[in-house]
């Protein structure tokens, strides 16, 4: 009944120039590396990437930055990828820095149908520039708005054929939140299992949120 397995070629066809893509992972832990390989091969340009950080020059989504396929990143941290800083200074890459907790909350808003959240984070700093400030019971908050993508690329540790996902250890991070906030969601499965093999309580992303399951050759 579930026909979600996607080939390398069909995934490549999904990815287009100018797309806004969310990529799960934290310093490349939990990042779907093979899906990034495919985007590198295809060579699409002018991508907007939403992720926790820009990883490393040779690991994680930082490889897309190094390949100059990205024109904008919305992230909390770029310190581990010198290419990001360099391209930012050269003016070829726009970098939006967002506090990590605000970033994940904005993505959650998009996935959860909320119009925004009030957070105390960033009040009195550069982060408040251009944002609406709302005072509740004498405390100032910034109104932070939803952040959505056309495509979300998720790194799943254990995925069943229906699309239920388990993330091992700290690979979870942004993955389950992003899996709710994009028009199309693709999970790269480190391990593919049969339906029923995952305990229902352990599912971290329920099957209906996953559009496509990509199984890299090394996982087969």
């Amino acid at each position: 009944m579930f026909h979600k397995i996607i080939s390398r070629k069909d995934f490549a066809d999904l990815v287009k120039d100018d797309m806004t893509i969310m990529i799960g992972g934290f310093m490349a832990c939990g990042t779907p590396e093979t899906l990034i390989d495919v985007i590198l091969e295809k060579g699409v340009k002018n991508l907007t990437i939403i992720s926790n950080d820009t990883g490393f020059v040779d690991k994680g989504l930082g490889r897309l930055v190094a390949a100059k396929q990205v024109s904008r990143v919305i992230v909390s941290h770029i310190g581990t990828n010198p290419e990001t800083g360099k391209q930012m200074v050269e003016g070829t890459l726009k970098v939006d820095l967002v506090p990590q907790g605000t970033l994940v909350e904005r993505i959650r808003c998009a996935g959860a149908g909320l119009g925004g959240v009030l957070t105390p984070i960033g009040v009195g700093t550069m982060v408040e520039e251009g944002k609406q400030k709302i005072t509740v019971e004498g405390i100032d908050y910034l109104l932070e708005l939803p952040l959505r993508a056309e495509l979300a690329l998720i790194g799943g540790s254990i995925v069943d054929k229906a699309g239920n996902v388990v993330y091992n250890a700290t690979t979870r991070n942004f993955n389950p939140i992003m899996a709710m906030a994009a028009d199309t969601v693709v999970v790269e499965a480190s391990k593919l299992v049969e339906i029923g093999e995952i305990q229902a309580e352990l599912v971290m992303t329920p099957a209906p949120l996953i559009d496509h399951i990509f199984v890299p050759e090394k996982s087969r």
Binding site: G113, I195, V203, A207
Partner: protein
């Protein structure tokens, strides 16, 4: 009119059950909508969400297999299918409000030609509360109202709801034992009619304006 209420309800449930495609995520309200699950056509695999925190809800458990920890949003014992999952209420309503649920089927006290719904309070008389209904009708991609065409002879489909609203301008489709309506930008459209009814009977029992669709069909039930 169909006097047998049980028959009427099952006509409604059977008709609604034909709307779904395989793999769609569907939330059924308490009461009449629950019946829909019994009528899903062979070969169609609908995935049921229950707002208390489950996807892949299955039927009532077999005797001896009851688990008090597995309940639906009505508090009844149910089961879970092999592809199912559990989650907390925040995630459940993130799924609902975030447009991840394809269909919600709910009952009505009143529903009107603008697609507004009243279903949670009769002031001074009956105040069950809205539960998850407000979230469901605003959040689901498609809202189907399942209702008997009249109650104690009074039409349930009105020009404008009188009771306090559950939500404004959210209903996509209204299914009764006599007819199926679609709420369109141009107003209410009668798109299907029970083979044993007539446009005259429907007009006489509907307190709303509606146009008769050029593609009017007989309700398949």
């Amino acid at each position: 009119m169909i006097e047998d209420l049980n028959l009427a309800k099952n006509i409604i449930a059977r008709r609604i059950a034909r709307e779904f495609k395989s793999n769609q995520l569907v939330n059924l309200g308490i009461g009449l909508p629950t019946l829909v699950a019994n009528h899903i056509p062979e070969g169609i695999n609908v995935i049921f969400q229950s707002e208390n925190g489950m996807i892949g809800m299955g039927p009532a458990p077999q005797p001896g297999e009851e688990n008090p920890d597995i309940t639906n949003a009505g508090g009844q014992l149910v089961s879970i299918l092999p592809y199912g999952s559990y989650f907390d209420s925040a995630t459940s309503f993130a799924l609902i409000r975030g447009k991840h649920v394809e269909y919600t089927v709910l009952g009505a006290l009143e529903v009107d030609q603008e697609g507004s719904l009243a279903s949670w309070i009769i002031p001074g008389k009956k105040v069950p509360g809205m539960g998850g209904a407000m979230d469901l009708v605003v959040g689901a991609k498609n809202v189907i109202i399942s209702t008997l065409h009249t109650e104690r002879g009074k039409p349930k489909i009105l020009k404008k709801c009188i009771l306090p609203l559950t939500a404004k301008h959210v209903v996509n489709m209204i299914v009764t034992e006599l007819a199926v309506f679609r709420v369109t930008p141009g107003g209410l459209a009668l798109i299907e009619i029970n083979k044993d009814s007539s446009i005259e009977e429907i007009k006489a029992n509907t307190a709303a304006d509606f146009i008769v669709s050029e593609q009017l069909k007989v309700m398949e039930v």
